[in-house]
Amino acid sequence: MIRTEEMLLNVGPQHPSTHGVFRLILKIDGEIIKEATPVIGYLHRGTEKIAEDLQYTQIIPYTDRMDYLSAMTNNYVLCHAVETMIELEVPERAEYLRVLAMELGRIASHLVWYGTYLLDIGATSPFLYAFRDREHIINLLNELSGGRLTFNYMRIGGVKWDAPEGWIEKVKNFVPYMREQIEGYHELVTGNEIFKERAKGIGTYTKEDAIAHSLSGANLRCTGVNYDIRKVEPYSIYDRFDFQVVTREEGDAWARYECRMQEMEESLKIVEQAVEQFPESGPVLGKVPRIIRPPKGEAYVRIESPRGEIGCYIASDGKKEPYRLKFRRPSFYNLQILPKLLKGENMANLVAILGGVDIVLGEVDG
């Protein structure tokens, strides 16, 4: 009789597939995971606590560093929350610039996800193809905002810069280019039988599980829940665009892959329409008081970030600093289902599941 025993395996925080400093303590029997305990907090910087000592405008660069793959949506959620509190009207041109920046950021973020996911599965080339196209987006956003990753572009009441000359034209030309590249991704990866084998039926959860764990974004929509805040509760000017909410029924890693791939195309649609409707001229910053002092009270706004529902709660006591600031960080919530998904899975599926959930550690740890 062979005596076997379970083994404790420490995955991370310096493991190549944990997408940052994320740690998992696994109890494994051979290659089968019996129990998984995620350990987070290695990147905790206390953004919310720091924010209590900062004026509202000063918080914006801190939000860049939460979900550093889609800093534009984070910028927006804070600005949107403050604007809601002080009931500020944002100029139309600024709204269009915001939407363009956010949707380009969404594509860039999904591209990073696509590349790193395939890298986890073992294919190296898609990663570099995705990063080539992401580089185009980053160059566009760099021209617009002056930053490649931490844009610090939006301001309460508008945006920092107007679009530079010829920028709208460049975005317009980027849309057909990107469509062609997405075709290429499908050619390279979507039809690949090995990838299908690796992703189909992996990490499946039901609609009820997803809702119970308060998942959001593609992680929720892959189970068939038609829930996208851009449609459900349109903010900014999203009600002016015609786009689909991508859903799948299966709830496995493959469905999440398909959701995200198609979301990129939907984002391109929005970008295309926004470029068409882009106002000829106009201010990009509304009439903002010099020092922003929201009235006593609280506000919660939520928007759709590439990773799911990102929310911002502000409690103000009438001072120029928030009394309490809280971000609902989608990666953190999406991560909660991980121990359940990993139970009983093969070690090799660990990367396919963890990668599919699409977490950004800067956001998980706050």
Binding site: P16, S17, L118, I121, L128, F195, E197, A348, N349
Partner: protein, 335 residues
């Protein structure tokens, strides 16, 4: 060239030993040179596929000295050993993995005359010896006293057991056609038609199994860096690590050579182009196979271990068995 053949077959004396040494040492150096440039070529090919340039700093524009510098770095690196590692096995493992990789080279016929050992059972020898390396890998995995390394070692064993069988079975059909296990004779029989045309199924299975045997993507489970970091050689550094690397690429050399010999007709020229010397033909076909290896590595994702075993036992093995029957029928009817 005739006299080389004479030396190889003459009775052992001091002189023949000296001549033997004089021929084989340059050959070994040539293999090492190949390994050096195969690594460079792999990085270049992958770089070009992935819209990069690959190494282009050390040694001129094409990075010709990059691998040399890398190997030199490994040589002068401190040799670390985990405190709780099994010392004897830890030292032995790279040797076990490395030595067979050079031993198999002895049977490969490069041209009509340049064969180091014209064994009657050359093919069998090759397959048998190359299986030993896996023992080195599992030894390394066990001796490192590291959980990831252990998993890598176990995966290597599981993979080897699943793949060696279809690998051998896929060759049975070819051997039936050729009627011999001698590699030189197998090449001679491909004067007009290479076996890739007569044994397409056997070729495909053999090629897939060769990828698995070489631990390359899509079958690089024992060292899957995104799952178990570096697998069996996670604790190795310096020269011991270089040994594993070297063994891997020498095997690539050997396996590409074997595919060239078995299926592409070795030194045999394409009909009508006989004026080009045989060695060039061998090199060309060989490079093509190596390129395909690299190309596949740059494209495909990795399989999971259970899928891999399922694939080997439930798909490849039945097909290769069917291939044997088919070959036997064809042989009976047409040859």
């Amino acid at each position: 060239m005739e006299w080389i053949q004479g030396v190889f077959t003459s009775s052992p004396t001091i002189e023949s030993f000296a001549i033997y040494l004089l021929i084989t040492v340059p050959f070994l150096l040539m293999v090492l040179g190949f390994v050096t440039y195969a690594i460079l070529a792999e990085r270049k090919v992958m770089g070009y596929i992935q819209l990069r340039y690959g190494p282009n700093r050390t040694g001129g524009r094409f990075g010709l000295l990059q691998t040399v510098a890398d190997v030199f770095k490994l040589l002068i690196k401190e040799d670390t050993r985990p405190k709780l590692a099994d010392k004897g096995l830890f030292i032995l493992a790279p040797v076990i993995a490395f030595v067979p990789s050079f031993m198999v080279l002895v049977v490969l016929p490069y041209t009509e005359t340049l064969t180091f050992a014209n064994l009657g059972i050359g093919l069998l020898y090759f397959i048998a010896i190359s299986g030993i390396s896996t023992i080195g890998i599992v030894t390394a995995g066990w001796a490192s006293n590291n959980k990831y390394a252990l998993m890598g070692g176990m995966r290597a064993v599981a993979q080897m057991i699943s793949y060696e069988i279809p690998l051998l079975m896929s060759l049975v059909g070819l051997v039936l056609f050729a009627g011999t296990l001698n590699l030189t004779e197998i090449i001679e029989q491909q004067q007009y038609v290479p076996y890739i045309l007569l044994q397409p199924i056997g070729f495909i299975i053999f090629f897939i199994c060769a990828l698995a045997e070489l631990n390359r993507i899509p079958f690089d489970l024992p060292e899957a860096e995104s799952e178990i970091i570096a697998g069996y050689h996670v604790e190795y550094s310096g020269f011991r690590f270089a040994f594993f690397m070297l063994a891997e690429y020498v095997y690539m050399f050997a396996m590409a050579g074997l595919i060239t010999v078995l299926f592409l007709g070795g030194w045999q020229p394409i009909i009508g182009l006989g004026f080009i010397p045989g060695f060039v033909w061998f090199a060309l076909k060989f490079s093509l196979v190596v390129f395909v290896f690299m190309w596949i590595r740059a494209t495909l994702p990795r399989l999971r271990s259970d899928q891999l075993m399922e694939f080997a036992w439930k798909v490849l093995l039945p097909i290769s068995l069917a291939n044997i029957f088919l070959s036997a029928i064809l042989k009976e009817l047409f040859f």
